[in-house]
């Protein structure tokens, strides 16, 4: 019985969460039958279950809500704001009661009656009538086969698979040392493949659509904007991006805080917006996308923006910033002050954002999981916050280095740059050393010295790894040698080892020997680098680092289907996906692939594979999307682009030397120009007006015009171009293209395609000029 109750609690909670979006949508469109049904189904299911478990209070509440909704369904009642609020209150109450059931608390029952009374409202008298008209039970719409699993079971499986991967690596190593045996090697290959598949599967079970994070937002936005008397339209995008379950939980609070801030401080009241010449409803856009092995979550509003000057005044008043420092800050750096502890933009503390948890906490939380937060703000245009987090926590991309003959790993997320020690000026100040990297002094820590290991290589042969630990200052770490980029399965180290304060965990190298993963902030702390005092300098330097970063491009290196090495800027990669061969087909003159309900042009391969799967990059230019088939990802590297251009424009822009190998750089511009479906997406399209009611126009001309990327005007809409027949009257100021049916006369002949395209282009140019 206990188990059943637990299932009921979990199910009800999940349903309630999934429902909050539907309720808001329903409020906006009370006629939306589908949403209404969804909400009705929820209260109906709760009611049914309550009867079974003998939970009279829940049953009463859900019964009342069901009754009211049934009236609406039967058309006896209109879903007005009062009703929506009452239903919302009841669903909240159900949530509270379920929570109480789980924790064993008790909730006062007095309010139940009020909630139910609020529901009946003015239509109380008709309640009886509705009872009789109760609709038949709606059929379950989606029947996805699923089971409920405890997360720790998944974690145990994940650990088991990680062990299997390491055991496989060890076996591989032993096989290399042993005399060759083809049969054994074949068997090993099979085992290898099985393990890889299982690992893939388990990793995926740990993944969750980011939808589960977004689904609570509509309700929150609705409640907040109602409380504040603001109008906010929420646009959520990219809910199908998948992320490690644990990561989703880690992002939940920071994201909630950012959204609250945006509504409370960012978006103005309708009057204020009207005064600024904006639409009364503010827009809050929350989007997620995958770029390489990172997830980008962006929260953008069109509010008043962050007042950088106000932040500077506050920081000055709080003594956090000297006048001299304040003068040196660029506008972007002023805005970045929002992340400083104990600075809040709002002059008044409001109930919504409150005080205590500031943006500094948001940043700290994101950085703790290896992520980064960036902020961008334009006065009276809005704020854009971008969160970047890694896909998973357990497998960490790392760089292996050595000191005194021993190998260590450094998490790649903390690495800024790698330099030759011989190429950098190093000064000795007392017992400490300072490296000067591009006019910037950074403390230098020698890894062998820090660890007390002998036999370090001479300084000029050492390498400097510039590290930027989470929440810390950049410093240089001198190591004897830099080896390799590797994806490491990291496990926690024993407490007696962690006590050193230098390590983040342990892992095994391919040769089976243990490797310690270094903790960049732990090392800085042990070396005595002081973080807090340098917070301002860090903000000052952030700009310099950005300028350097701008010259570097983050590139995704991959192997093409025919085995070549190519690279593409990570920024244009939306995500990487496996598609079955059936999803690829030659249609309408192009090779296309269907992914997630969309059809994308496919580049990078000449024909559909006969069977199996193909890996594709989904590339985006912000509007259109194309797919690019490839074999495997090699790496992601940040490089200053220096390449030999290709002799003629084409798929490849040129060739660059990366890690000693020639790599062809894709030309995204050419790819999109060549492959992208024109006229798709949200870009402003030229609008063209056509005469109405002419079958030739509708059936022959219209598809041609649309194919050229024009949108056909709706009645009364301003247009860029007007296409008219000889007999049509046109407005005096319009850009007109006349078409004629006869062979001779004024304008363009209706079947002279080239002339028509030319005339349209000319007219469009005139319109813009």
């Amino acid at each position: 019985m206990d188990e059943l109750i637990n299932d009921f609690i979990a199910e009800t909670r999940d349903m309630a969460q999934a429902l909050s979006g539907a309720i808001v949508a329903w409020e906006a469109m009370p006629d939306d039958r589908e949403r209404l049904d969804e909400i009705f189904r929820f209260v109906h299911t709760v009611k049914g279950n309550c009867g079974f478990f003998d939970l009279p209070r829940l049953e009463q509440l859900s019964h009342a809500a069901e009754g009211a909704l049934a009236e609406v369904r039967a058309g006896d009642r209109v879903a007005d704001t009062a009703l929506v609020n009452a239903v919302l209150a009841i669903i909240d109450r159900i949530g509270e009661l379920v929570q109480a059931l789980e924790t064993g608390e008790s909730l006062a029952s007095e309010e139940d009656g009020e909630l139910i009374a609020a529901l009946s409202g003015p239509a109380a008298a008709e309640g009886q009538l509705a009872e009789a008209a109760a609709a038949p039970e709606p059929e379950a719409k989606r029947s996805v086969r699923s089971i409920r699993l405890a997360v720790d079971l998944l974690d145990r499986m994940m650990n088991g698979v990680s062990d299997a991967v390491l055991a496989r690596n060890e076996l591989a190593r032993r096989l290399r040392d042993a005399p060759r045996d083809v049969a054994v090697e074949a068997a090993f290959e099979r085992v290898s493949q099985c393990i890889a598949e299982i690992r893939d599967g388990i990793t995926r079970t740990r993944m969750q659509r980011i939808d589960s994070l977004f689904s609570g937002l509509p309700r929150m936005v609705r409640d907040l904007s109602a409380d504040l008397g603001k109008q906010v339209r929420l646009e959520a995008d990219g809910g199908d991006v998948e992320l490690d379950r644990e990561m989703i939980e880690m992002i939940r609070d920071p994201l909630t805080h950012i959204v609250r801030n945006a509504i409370d401080h960012g978006i103005e009241s309708p009057d204020e917006r009207a005064a600024a010449g904006k639409k009364p409803a503010g827009v809050l856009r929350v989007s997620a996308r995958q770029a390489g092995n990172q997830i980008l979550i962006e929260v953008a509003d069109d509010g008043r923006g962050i007042d950088g000057e106000a932040l500077v005044r506050k920081a000055r008043a709080a003594g956090l910033l000297s006048a001299e420092q304040a003068d040196k800050l660029s506008p972007a750096q002023k805005i970045a002050l929002v992340f400083m502890p104990s600075l809040s933009t709002a002059d008044e503390v409001t109930a919504i954002s409150g005080r205590g948890v500031g943006m500094d906490v948001v940043r700290a939380n994101i950085e703790r999981i290896g992520g980064v937060v960036d902020v961008d703000s334009r006065p009276s245009q809005g704020v854009r916050l971008c969160i970047r987090v890694p896909l998973t926590l357990t497998i960490i991309p790392a760089l292996t280095v050595s000191a005194g003959g021993q190998v260590f790993a450094i998490p790649r997320s903390a690495i800024d740059e790698i330099l030759r020690a011989g190429a950098v000026r190093i000064d000795r100040i007392g017992e400490a050393e300072v490296a000067t990297v591009r006019d910037r002094r950074v403390p230098l820590i020698s890894l062998p010295t820090l660890l007390g290991i002998d036999g370090a290589a001479p300084r000029e042969e050492q390498k400097l790894v510039l590290l930027k630990p989470a929440g810390g200052e950049v410093y240089a770490l001198a190591v004897d040698a830099v080896h390799d980029h590797e994806e490491l399965v990291v496990k926690p180290a024993a407490p007696a080892v962690m006590a050193a304060g230098l390590y983040a965990g342990t892992t095994l190298a391919d040769d089976g020997s243990p490797i310690l993963l270094l903790d960049p902030s732990g090392m800085a702390k042990r070396a005595g680098i002081n973080f807090a005092e340098n917070e301002i300098d860090r903000a000052l330097h952030a700009g310099a680092a950005e300028a350097e970063g701008a010259r570097e491009t983050s590139l995704l290196l991959f192997r093409t289907l025919d085995g070549g090495r190519r690279a593409v800027p990570v920024a244009v990669v939306e995500r990487i996906e496996d598609v079955p061969a059936e999803a690829i087909a030659f249609g309408a003159g192009k090779l296309r692939v269907s992914i997630g309900g969309r059809i994308l042009p496919l580049a990078g391969c000449a024909a559909a594979p006969a069977a199996g799967k193909m890996r594709v990059l989904r590339l985006t230019d912000g509007v259109a999307e194309i797919a690019y088939g490839f074999a495997e990802v090699i790496d992601i590297r940040a490089l200053v682009l220096d390449f030999q251009p290709a002799p003629a424009p084409g798929e490849v822009a040129g060739v660059a030397l990366i890690d000693g190998a020639q790599v062809e750089l894709l030309d995204p511009h050419w790819l999109f120009a060549q492959h992208a479906d024109s006229g798709r997406g949200d870009a402003p399209q030229p609008v063209c007006a056509l005469p109405e009611g002419d079958p030739w126009i509708d059936n022959m001309l219209r598809p041609l015009i649309e194919g050229l990327g024009y949108r056909i005007a709706r009645a009364g809409e301003p247009t860029d171009i007007v296409i008219a027949r000889e007999e049509d009257e046109v407005p005096a100021d319009a850009n007109v293209v006349r078409i004629r049916a006869s062979a001779e006369g004024e304008g363009v002949h209706r079947y002279d395609r080239a002339a028509l395209i030319g005339a349209l282009a000319a007219a469009k140019g005139k319109g813009h000029g």
Binding site: D163, A164, V165, L166, A167, N169, E170, Q406, L451, G452, I453, K491, P492, A493, A494, P495, A496, V497, A499, A500, G501, L502, Y503, T506, T507, L508, G512, S513, P514, I515, L516, R526
Partner: protein
């Protein structure tokens, strides 16, 4: 059923460990040092696909440090989700205890007092019964 004991030699003394706290005896193939870790940690070693934290028994008793050796026996002890490898002079045998252990009535010497559970009899000999978890915790834990 009588308690099983693992008999080994540490710091020149023959001692007994409760076998239930021991996973097995392993041969370590080289130890990777863990600089700056607690002093009784000899380093890390790999057992199959697992990372073992190697504990120097001598250092844990604060009686010195184990000598370097290319390959050596260690006792694998799982504890709190980590597996440790305890370096001892020698691993002898697993024997059955003759009866329950008796508490210590007098100090047994520096270092040993901290890790001893009591005395226990097996094969007509009297052994010092040692708690491997206390050896793993090391001298610092005691001081704290």
């Amino acid at each position: 059923m009588a308690e099983l004991l693992l008999i080994g030699r540490l710091a020149g003394r023959r001692i007994a460990f409760p076998a239930e706290r021991v996973e097995g005896v392993v041969e370590l193939e080289g130890i990777t040092p863990a600089p700056c870790a607690a002093p009784h940690v000899a380093g890390l070693s790999a057992l199959r696909s697992r990372v073992l934290t190697v504990i120097d028994g001598l250092a844990a008793l604060e009686l010195g440090r184990a000598r370097e050796a290319p390959a050596r026996d260690a006792i694998a002890i799982p504890c709190d989700g980590h597996t440790y490898a305890l370096l001892v002079d020698e691993v002898e045998d697993v024997v059955e205890a003759a009866g329950p252990h008796a508490p210590l009535t007098a100090p047994v010497g520096a270092g040993w007092d901290r890790v001893a559970i009591g005395t226990i009899e097996a094969n007509d000999e009297l052994f010092l019964l040692v708690d491997p978890y206390l050896l793993i915790a090391g001298p610092a834990a005691h001081a704290a």
